[in-house]
Amino acid sequence: MNAVPQARPAAALELTGVSKSFGGAAALREVGFSLLPGEIHALAGINGAGKSTLVKIMSGALSPDGGHLLIAGHAHSALTPRRARALGVSIVHQHRTLVPQLTVAENLFLGRLPTRAGRVDWRAARAQAARALADLGVEVPATAIAADLGPAEQTLVEIAREIQVGGRVLILDEPTATLGGADAARVHRIVRTLSARGIAVVYISHHLDEVLDLADRVTVLRDGRHVLTASTAETDLPSLVRAMTGDRLAETRPRTARTPGRAVLELRDLSAGPRLAGLSLTVRAGEVVAVLGCAGDGQTQLFPLLSGLRRPSGGDVLVGGGRVPPGSVTAALAAGLRCVTGERLTYGLVPGLTVDENLDLTGRGLRRPWSVRWRRMHREAAGARTRFGVTTIRPDPPVATLSGGNQQKVLLARWLDRDVTACLLEEPTNGVDVAAKADIHRLIDGLAARGAAVLLASADVDEVLRLADRVLVVRSGRTVADLPADRVSRDDLVSLSVGGTAS
Amino acid sequence: SSSTTTSASGDGEKPLTLGFVNGNTIEFHTCLQRSMEARAKTAGVTLLTSNSAMDPAKELSNIDDMIAKQVDAIIVQTVNIDSLEGGIARANRAKIPIFLTSVASVDQSKILGAVITDVVKVGRELGEWLVKDNAGAAADVAVIGGAPGAAADLMNNAFKKALTGGPRIVFDQPAFWQRAKAQDVAENLLQAHPKIKYVFVHNEDMALGVLAAFKAAGRTDIKILTNGGSPAGIDAVRSGEFAVTVSNTPKSVGEMAIDDTVGLLQKKEGVKKIATVSDMLITRDNADQAPPYCS
């Protein structure tokens, strides 16, 4: 019918002049965005720039205060997640949205279980789920309970779920934030396949290499405003960073050489369940040691074991030569062990409490004071916020309302903004923007420089290369390789982390 | 226990076993059961008991359980007037006779018998006492009732009807048979109607709560009318704290219930099918003649 052929195809999804504020503070201001069929469109911006807010509006999870939204050329004013799905828009949110008590199969078909004669066809559900997972190369049994999966597995299941839904738009909000190299590569492959099939993908990530490599176009948000949209072919990393940060440049200073001291943190034959069988390792003062392994290869057990949340079935943890009584959080803390979880909302923060009180919690747990001095708390917290670059659009909001990256910074500030003897860092830059990531890396350098023993459990290979002095590779809960970091290449690490060997 | 009684079925050797389904666990019911247990013992009758805790559905379950135990008769202190139609039907079908205490307003052909307390009479007597005491003059009268519903309403209406002439009801609020609540309501009453002269409280336990409120407010001039006959109530009447109470004691009810049930089962002569427990208006003058409340 259209007489005039258009220069470009109709947008799969288009936003114009979209604004959104929370309690009077603007998270998005007059943002425009256009997504073409089949393109991979990255969204970039530092923590709190408004990326998640924007995609929540696209998917009907939030309704905008103003502006227009068009899906396949049709305006939609009262979009709900349900409607959005019906219109072919599916999304993997930054915060996981699995139902913990249900099986993987059921989570995959949430809200649309296959039925036969009005009754749920469990056999079909399991079979289809198994097939969908196999298609993506996800090695998770369809009958596993979601709560029993690790964060990486949960992410993959969610991606599988949204792909199952089908549709013309898929939104991925930081899908690779918690994934290791192999899993991330798997996600990239999936995204490319889908895009080749004509599905438009919105892709949010703080890994800018990834963005430049994967996306066709990239849109940058800053302070809730649209800054630029460009083809990735015509942009490069420095200009992207500049667009994101404005004046503030993210420096990636090369790290200084460290000289490790005496052994501070030692694990001896640490065992727990089938996943961890006699792990031994030593971290010396001023040293950063990274543990690499596939999801489920035992390094995920380090947090519950070292923090005292769980009692190992065998073996010892020593700090400064002294044995830490097992299964006791208090004892671990008293020994000077600081464990920073990779699951900030489950094991890290109290979402309903304010940022400042969350920051205060650790000191309160350690010092066990009788009273809470609010004025002093706010004063001390202000310093920690500055040092860790926590930005909020309201004075002292509940942590739950912060963007993911800012929550992560609050978590780190809680644990690392004071004296540390030894620490375990699980995915310390999970969801953190480039600028902040560099800041956090410098903070970890500083930690080591002050003589702390740092055990790093990160799936981010670049992060490992940037921070670690030594790399331990664990498989089935045992150390299979112990390599000085300066003698392994990026490729080696990627290969090691997926179960291969170093060249 | 050497005395053997013959069962209704005529089986000369087998002693009687009676089931008692009690309605609640407050003082009245405690004493009722105690007097029945004492009387059953002297009569050589085995008494099985259960309690419905004010729940009509539980009452029916208790009757079911008694039927399962094949007792010779079931005595029921029902939770509500008239609520046990189903229970009676069930017992009739199982050919186990039912005997009621306190009330008997169901189809009397379906029960073995009953010992009743006439709450209408109690209300009327108290109303008449008030009119006489005030010599027909005008007076503000308050009622602090139990829970709205059958028994309390019957007594209340009879009381109101008997108030001829000057006295008028200016306050009528429930305290749900709770002593503490009665105290609150009495306090509120004093606020709303400080000139009150008489208060009719539906039972003595609540009346004691009302008394506590009056005492705290220094009001010894208000006359308390109540119903029960418990030791605490009689003491309060003797000391002048209560003006009047009506004694219809659970002891008499319980003893009559055992006697009449056994008598009716054994078809003894002169046992009335429906007997009314004698009540007695107690004032300071006759407080010493009040019948004992509990066994």
Binding site: G296 | S61, L84, E85, A89
Partner: protein, 324 residues
Amino acid sequence: MTTAAHPRRRTIGAALPPGLVRHGGVLGVLLLIAVFTTSRSDVFLTAPNLLNVSRQIAVVAVLAAGLTLLMTAGGIDFSLGAIAAVTHGVTAQLIVAGVADWAAVALALTLGAAIGLVNGTVVTVFRVTPFVATLASSTILTGVALLVIGGQSISIGEHLGGLGFGELLGVPVLIVIAAAVCLAVGLAMRWSAFGRNAFAIGGNENAARLSGIPVVRTKLLLYTLGGLLAGLGGVMLVARLGAASPGTGGLHLELTVVAAVVIGGTALHGGSGTLVGTILGVLLLGVVANSLNLLQINPYFQDVALGTVLMVAAVANHLRSRRH
């Protein structure tokens, strides 16, 4: 090794009724009490007594089935007992007013469902916490129940006798109804999309909403269903009692129902629950009440005994589930 273990898990899980394994605690306590009572009373294990127990728990089972489904979805209804009180009164009044039995029953069920729908609306549309909303409506309905019957007992004579006392192939109709309701709800929880949506909503409401599950509609339906079943419970009460009377249903019934469901392992915060557990909970309460009578436990001690059984079952439940 890990992967090899999975298929095994799967088969066992599918073969056994979901939940029986989880309820070792309640089951154990139930058996213990049964054995003890049998050893002390030769009446307990007789057919008439067991029929008795099941007739006594029929109403509780019907309400508990509805509550299980609702609680699985993260809801709670504290007004079910009061709804039953209202509908039992309404049924009696309608019958006394000359309405045909079936019509009175239909109206009572409709009324129950309507009240449930109102509760659901307050919870979903005004987003009042379910506990608060239904505590308030329970209070209102307790008053309404009293008003409906004017505080008096209303006898329905021989009406609804077939329901209250009738039998179907030797099984009391009340038990047949309760069993049918439990079966239907149990199947719905396992095999219907509606039931599975309830689990998803209770487990993570946000996730459910984001995956397009009609959360509001499902919740409304759940509260309506709860109300409907409470209405049915009211009808069963009046049929069994042969009269409507003050104090029937209400808080007593409510607390029994809630206790049965939670002792059966349904989580107060939603996301998990089994009808098998609920039925065991209902049975436990029924058997305990029956045993207390058969064993002639002093009424003052009955509460102590009941509470102790609940506590032991809860602790046993926990110990069982830890071993898993």
